[in-house]
Symmetry: C2
Subunit: 200 residues, 2 copies
Amino acid sequence: MDRPVTVGARGRPGVTSHGEIEQAAFRLFAEHGFAATTLDAIAAEVGVGRRTLFRYYRSKNDIPWGRFDRTLAGFRALLDAQPSDLPLHEAVHRGVVAFNEFPEDAQPPHRERMRLILTTPELQAHSVLRYQEWREVIADYVARRTGAAPTDLLPRVVGQVSLALALSAYDAWLADASTPVPVLIDRAMTGLRDYLGGGG
Amino acid sequence: MDRPVTVGARGRPGVTSHGEIEQAAFRLFAEHGFAATTLDAIAAEVGVGRRTLFRYYRSKNDIPWGRFDRTLAGFRALLDAQPSDLPLHEAVHRGVVAFNEFPEDAQPPHRERMRLILTTPELQAHSVLRYQEWREVIADYVARRTGAAPTDLLPRVVGQVSLALALSAYDAWLADASTPVPVLIDRAMTGLRDYLGGGG
DNA sequence: ACATTAATGGCACTCGTGGTCACAAGCGCC
DNA sequence: GGCGCTTGTGACCACGAGTGCCATTAATGT
């Protein structure tokens, strides 16, 4: 993206970093809530000008999502890594599950991040735009494997439904973290199968 | 809600109405786009103070949705009207399909409304909050029929997946209106079944 | 007429967002 | 060491959504 990354060390180096901003922001969000935390406050906490924040994140809503574009690239790779002789639904399912596997020790911050995103109305709303990109990764994969266009009905349906299952799983996880997300996604999928298949 | 409805006719009567505001707003949205249309402009078009708009709609984003709360009540009734001896998935599916049946002549404005909602980023984002209420209607129904809590995994999954199918159908409908939404929802459902069931 | 009730709309204010512009801090080059 | 280039920084400014406050207006009921 167009963020201050300073790869080759040319020009003035940045005073702060995404990590630093996110840490400060999450600290304030936890303390006062998302809406009540102004950008001025975050800027002050980091020790930079308010205007500078916009060079690192496009908007206040983007801060909790971090660098999601990189995460998406990882997801795409995960799907591509699935064996092509696997049934399509199984490949997608495994990709989604793998995407949501996190090391145990990384979970406390991840959980806090997801809780914030999934329970703050402003962020819930903003998230659609991110989910859209996520769904497109799936739609592209399905399209490639079925020979359809990514905009055809089935790729879109699979993207939408996969997201539906993942979000259901996250909801449950936030309510009770004792079961890991991948397991919950699995259960959601099983539930859906029973629901659709079972005549009762 | 807390809107000026003037039921018993006491006190000053409203100068305008939801319908009038929506018409004016859609006219301006079509002409200048959603983002470029300010509330001042809408207020002027209606011939009313800007402050008054907020008495009819909570936010600019809420205008395109109209009085969705009433629509939701209708949806709830549609689900409840499904025969209880129908398999659960069939009852839900029929309820969703019925909810999306519109008289032919009402379609041009409805289509415009949906196009606006589904293609304007700000509105896409805002819509999640509305979708949430919609999903809850389904979750409640599923919970009632299965004896589960509305917050349990299955009711939530069914709500999420039903929304997923409906949104896929609307996407397709906006791209090509020749096939009615209910038919597209049906196709999405069939596609999902094949995808999940078919080993290929 | 007068009290009551409810909707209106002006005013002022906060805050997110975005544009412009001058400046600062490193880099490579001469 | 000075020069120009690049890029982060932040001050200043403008716009628009959203909100609290409150006087005003227009009906009803007595």
